[in-house]
């Protein structure tokens, strides 16, 4: 086993490149998916039935389609319609579109169970539209949804691993390459898991901080 790890050490630069790609994809993907998810939650909660139906249709479609399939469609399908991305962009687009739907559903779930009274108070004080959402509703949702959003952020980090099929050189891609080259699966997996774990820790620390903030207000 020690020899396996020394083989991995020899390929450290490849793993590091993969890690950097994973971090970048996750960071940009998470930020966009969270922001867009919050925006998408607005039509999901709208009183207008058409808006609600259309946005819910999108959310449910994304929840039904396998991520791999979506990635395939974006990367191999869209070029047929004349829309051509390089693999990095295609991967990012797939991640953002897919996870936006999940984020939106998480936010909608919490939102719909917020105390009606505090929202009514805001409406009575003249809040409406975006300001009502951004100042009164979303802060409460975000404080309540910490662990759930943390879940999804971790899903995003792990979704980046699927992009290996469209040849995005991320962490799993690098790990697979090393394990197949030397035939040392377990040492590679353990190394990769530890690296993913470190990334997920960042999310967990963030969630913990949000929980603290929320705790002081309960």
């Amino acid at each position: 086993m020690m020899r396996d790890f020394s083989l991995i050490w020899q390929s450290a630069d490849r793993l590091l490149d993969g890690l950097i790609n994973t971090v970048l994809l996750s960071l940009v993907g998470a930020a966009l998916a969270l922001a867009l998810g919050a925006l998408l939650a607005i039509p999901l909660m709208a009183s207008n039935p058409v808006l609600r139906l259309v946005s819910r249709g999108f959310v449910d479609l994304m929840r039904c389609v396998p991520f791999l399939m979506l990635t395939y469609l974006v990367y191999y399908g869209l070029p047929r319609l004349g829309l051509r991305f390089d693999n990095w962009t295609a991967g990012l687009v797939a991640i953002v579109v897919y996870n936006t739907a999940y984020m939106a559903e998480i936010i909608r779930g919490i939102w719909s169970r917020l105390e009606r009274e505090t929202i009514e108070a805001a409406v009575a004080f003249g809040f409406h539209g975006w300001r009502l959402v951004s100042r009164i509703i979303l802060p409460q949702v975000m404080l309540a949804a910490g662990p759930m959003i943390g879940n999804q952020l971790i899903q995003i980090i792990k979704d980046t691993a699927f992009l290996t099929i469209i040849a995005v050189p991320e962490l799993t891609h690098a790990a697979n390459s090393i394990q197949a080259q030397y035939f040392i699966p377990f040492a590679t997996f353990i190394t990769a898991v530890l690296m993913y774990w470190a990334l997920c820790m960042v999310v967990e620390v963030g969630v913990y901080a949000v929980e603290r903030i929320a705790e002081r207000r309960r």
């Binding site: 290996t164 040849a167 891609h173 197949a180 377990f186």
Partner: protein
């Protein structure tokens, strides 16, 4: 397990792949292909039962490494790095590397035209390890290797080649011939881009007695002409001059 252990418990476990045409694949749910036909013969040859597991490539790697499977009965290309952890049997075919290009791409006619072009290979594959050999060939004509894109598996690489995101893909002659035969209107086979490359079955390093038993089986198959017959059937040609021991 060592040969002794296998004999004691009465069976050995081999792993084959499920999507590696023409070596191993499934036809209406039943395993078939070159290796699977050899497996039928192997069963007759060895004095114990053989249990077969059908597993994707990544599972085979882990299974052989952990000792759950005694042998990867699939075309594992013999490379230097792999010999650090694996023992190989007598080669079962010739897998010298060729390139394939789009049929409508007239800019590539011979090896030197590959200079600076975008190439696709499978990640962590033997093919990837062979690219330095192409580099050497290109050096001779003053060219250089272009960008290398690694894929999880070959079907995606072929897709990207067809879509024009790649200029050529490097794989073994056997796989490429099978591909071009299926899609002659899209792809066209090029020339060899590596020296001799051979695949063999893989066993965990150190299990010499088992390797010897399997080698004896393969020698018998060679002698009775069955190996050549199967190669002809599945690869479209036989490889009579395969070495018994191969050092990459």
């Amino acid at each position: 397990a060592t040969l002794e252990e296998i004999k004691a418990r009465g069976y050995m476990v081999v792993a084959t792949e499920d999507d590696y045409k023409p070596f191993e694949f499934l036809e209406d749910g039943k395993p078939t292909g070159f290796d699977n036909e050899l497996l039928v013969e192997l069963r007759k040859f060895v004095p114990f039962e053989i249990r077969q597991e059908i597993i994707p490539w990544s599972g085979i790697l882990a299974g052989v490494a952990s000792g759950k499977y005694d042998m990867a009965l699939t075309a594992v290309i013999i490379t230097k790095p792999r010999m650090e952890t694996l023992a190989f049997t007598t080669p079962i075919a010739d897998a010298t590397h060729f390139y394939v290009k789009r049929k409508d791409d007239s800019s590539i006619k011979e090896i030197k035209d590959l200079t600076g072009k975008k190439v696709g290979v499978q990640t962590g594959s033997a093919q990837l390890d062979k690219l330095p050999e192409l580099q050497v060939m290109l050096d001779k004509t003053g060219g250089k290797l272009g960008e290398v894109v690694q894929y999880g598996s070959y079907p995606e690489a072929y897709q990207d080649l067809a879509l024009g995101r790649l200029d050529y893909v490097v794989n073994t002659i056997i796989n490429l011939r099978s591909l071009v035969k299926d899609k002659p209107e899209v792809f066209e086979l090029g020339q060899a881009v590596s020296g001799r490359t051979v695949p063999a079955w893989a066993i965990k390093k150190g299990n010499t007695e088992l390797v010897e038993l399997i080698n004896a089986f393969l020698a018998e198959q060679k002698k009775n002409g069955n190996l050549a017959k199967l190669q002809e059937k599945w690869f479209g040609q036989s490889f009579p001059d395969l070495p018994v021991h191969f050092e990459p």
